[in-house]
């Protein structure tokens, strides 16, 4: 007991002493004359090499180029999403961004409560009313959605053109509508350049865990390659790392998703279907700065450069000139509206 009391006194003194240390350059005050922006990431989102990191990149660019003052919040559990958004909205930020479809309800609620603050939701899921009609988001809320099916269409066409096989592979994460968009676009792209080709499409599971199961990804990848598939497109989060591993082992090709995944398996990544989350976030910040921001549902497709595929020095040797020409012609047709890419099963 006496020992504990001594320890208590010593600790109190140390704590008090430490409290009065004022490190140089503490409390970095965000500089810049741009707008105030707050971003709330998905739980455990930073470092996903996908849309959370994409949003971060976009914000970073806005800080550099527009002088925006950006604050980030990483929530811990379910109720932290609303709390994080509310914290930022209550501080009078000009723009508050929620990253991920899971923010949809919280954003709708807060946009109504803070009509003076502008909100944006990446991958915002539009709610349906009782009659199955979409409920438009409030005027101060921009729903940033991506037409993943259009990007998937192009990589599907590319895979069929350079794959040297009548069979193409697809590995999805969770079997649900968001991922069906990728599969349907991919299938349509394959059919567009090779009507007698078939697509083997498999999903890693029916739960969110299906997005983080590389073991299952490798299993599906190996089995598809052994069935004669030469190229697999994955839309499955880190499950896809297993697909890449299978490609590496058998010397086949895989297609990455969301971000440029070339570095995950150099030489075995044909291309990646990228979502321009950084572009979308940067765009929203710039619009707030310009005063051109408006609410509503924004579908970002090939035309808006919201989705694209990677064709750079790393993978140029894998894409033949003829294939590139054909895919670019398809892109032009989609942008012109002559091809409509399906998005649902």
């Amino acid at each position: 007991m006496r020992k504990l009391i001594v320890a208590l006194v010593v600790l109190s003194v140390v704590h008090l002493a430490l409290l009065f240390i004022e490190p140089a350059g503490a409390t970095r005050i965000a500089t810049g004359d741009g707008v105030d922006v707050g971003i709330v990431f998905d739980v455990g989102g930073r470092g996903d090499k996908s849309f959370n990191d994409g949003a971060f990149l976009g914000a970073e660019r806005a800080m550099k180029e527009l002088g925006a003052r950006v604050r980030f919040i990483e929530p811990g559990e379910g109720s932290d999403r609303e709390a994080g958004l509310r914290l930022l909205a209550a501080e009078g930020m000009d723009l508050v961004i929620g990253v991920g479809f899971i923010f949809s309800d919280d954003l709708t609620l807060l946009a109504k409560e803070y009509p003076g603050v502008k909100f944006a939701g990446v991958d915002y899921a539009v709610a349906m009313d009782a009659n199955g009609k979409p409920v438009p988001p409030p005027d101060n809320l921009a729903a940033l959605k991506f037409r993943e099916e259009e990007g998937s269409f192009l990589v599907g066409a590319l895979a069929a053109l350079v794959g040297n096989s009548k069979k193409l592979g697809f590995v999805g994460g969770m079997d649900f509508p968001l991922i069906h968009k990728f599969e349907m676009g991919y299938r349509a792209g394959v059919q567009a350049v090779c009507p007698d080709c078939t697509v083997i499409a498999q999903y890693a599971g029916v739960t969110p865990d299906a997005f983080k199961n590389p073991g299952r990804g490798q299993e599906l990848g190996l089995s598809q390659y052994q069935q004669g598939v030469n190229v697999i497109f994955h839309a499955s989060g880190s499950t896809g790392l297993g697909v890449f591993e299978a490609a590496r082992r058998l010397g086949k090709l895989a297609i990455g998703v969301d971000a440029d995944q070339y570095a995950e398996a150099p030489g075995f990544i044909l291309t990646s279907m990228v979502k321009g989350v950084d572009e979308a976030v940067f765009g929203a910040i710039r619009q707030v700065q310009d005063g051109t921001f408006r609410g509503g549902i924004f579908e970002l497709g090939l035309k808006e450069r919201g989705v694209n595929y990677i064709d750079d020095a790393n993978n140029a040797s894998l894409i033949t000139g003829a294939a590139r020409e054909r895919v670019e012609a398809l892109r032009a047709e989609i942008i012109a509206g002559r091809i409509t890419v399906p998005s649902t099963k």
Partner: protein, 362 residues
């Protein structure tokens, strides 16, 4: 983070009685505070500024305080669940799964009831469902423990994964709203927010299920210290062989305790499901079950202590958001871990439990 008045070693038995249980956790908290100072300094920030933001964002305004109360409600339930287990000499690591299943059960009943069911009927039914759901998740470990002496530590952990997978699947395929990870909104059984009576709490998730948490703490106290079953439970926890010799059915006590413990954890689910969002969402209180272990330990397995400890950890959790501009969220996670480790080594109950676990392996 507080600076307690330190008095000279007391001879007064009353002061002594109060000091004896309070000193170890206080020391542990101060250790955590000092480590926190060093962590903050390592990020080049001023500890005083960060702690000030932390207090401002939590106890400093009604909204922040409401959020603390909200988070504390769930933690109090899981903390009570773990504390009850430890009192009987068991480590219930399954509060995470029990909490999730409890929340899901409440949502199911709320969905099953027709809209317009009177609240006096709907709320108790949903609350009961939450308790039953939590109990259900504890049945398997309870049965295996009582019948075969299987280690509840291992079985409850495994149940967490089973429950998580089951609920994942159910919510993804059976009771889903498109493009979301949650069930539809419940038709009946919603519990009003505190803000409806105290407008100052506006916007915070705090709701009247907090009364259930407080009531549970009182009930657990009464059960443990005022009933024969509670006495038997504590006797089993102190020395199962002696209790058995004294005529207590040890297996049945373990079994009953795990079911009760599961029910307590499951009741934590009503906070989110009935009081906040009115639907069950995947991972709605992720981590609250595991944090319940820390809450029980810091609260020294006493219901009153659990309530205080749940406020402490809720403050750290909400504070993490408030100081996120200066230091990464992980810093507060580390701080929480330091609190847990410091307390775990300082509190006699834990030392005893660790000793008994070692003894069991031998």
């Amino acid at each position: 983070m507080s600076h307690p008045e330190v008095s000279a070693p007391a001879r007064d038995p009353w002061v002594q009685r109060l000091m004896e249980p309070l000193l170890p956790p206080l020391t542990a908290l101060l250790i955590a505070a000092v480590v926190g100072d060093l962590l903050i300094l390592s990020f080049g920030q001023s500890p005083r500024e960060v702690y000030r933001l932390l207090v401002d964002g939590t106890w400093g305004n009604a909204y922040g305080f409401g959020q603390v109360l909200y988070k504390a409600t769930t933690l109090a339930c899981t903390g009570l669940a773990v504390a009850l287990g430890i009192r009987a000499g068991m480590f219930n690591i399954g509060a995470e799964g029990q909490l999730a299943l409890g929340g899901f059960a409440a949502a199911l009943v709320g969905l099953g009831l027709p809209a317009g069911t009177p609240a006096v009927l709907a709320i108790p039914l949903c609350v009961l469902a939450a308790g039953a759901g939590g109990s259900l998740a504890a049945t398997v470990p309870g049965a295996l423990k009582a019948r075969y002496g299987a280690s509840e530590v291992i079985v409850t952990i495994m149940m967490n994964f089973i429950v998580a997978a089951l609920l994942n699947w159910l919510v993804a395929t059976k009771v889903n709203v498109a493009e979301s990870l949650h069930t539809p909104e419940i038709h009946a059984g919603a519990v009003p927010r505190l803000a409806e009576v105290f407008p100052a709490f506006h916007g915070s998730a705090a709701n009247f299920t907090i009364l259930v948490a407080i009531g549970l703490a009182v009930l657990v106290w009464w059960f443990l210290f005022r009933t024969r079953a509670g006495y038997e439970l504590r006797a089993v926890g102190l020395q199962p062989d002696a209790a058995e010799y004294g005529g207590v059915n040890v297996g049945r006590t373990w079994w009953r305790t795990l079911l009760l413990s599961g029910a307590l954890a499951g009741l934590g689910g009503i906070n989110y499901v009935l009081g906040y969002k009115q639907y069950y969402e995947e991972g709605f209180a992720a981590g609250a079950g595991y944090l319940g272990i820390a809450v029980a330990l810091v609260g020294r397995n006493h219901p009153a202590g659990v309530l205080v400890a749940s406020l402490l950890f809720a403050t750290l959790s909400q504070g993490a958001l408030a100081v996120n501009a200066l230091v990464p969220k992980q810093m507060l996670d580390v701080l929480t871990a330091v609190v847990i480790i410091a307390v775990a080594t300082a509190v006699p109950e834990v030392q005893r439990l660790l000793r008994s676990l070692r003894g069991r392996q031998a």
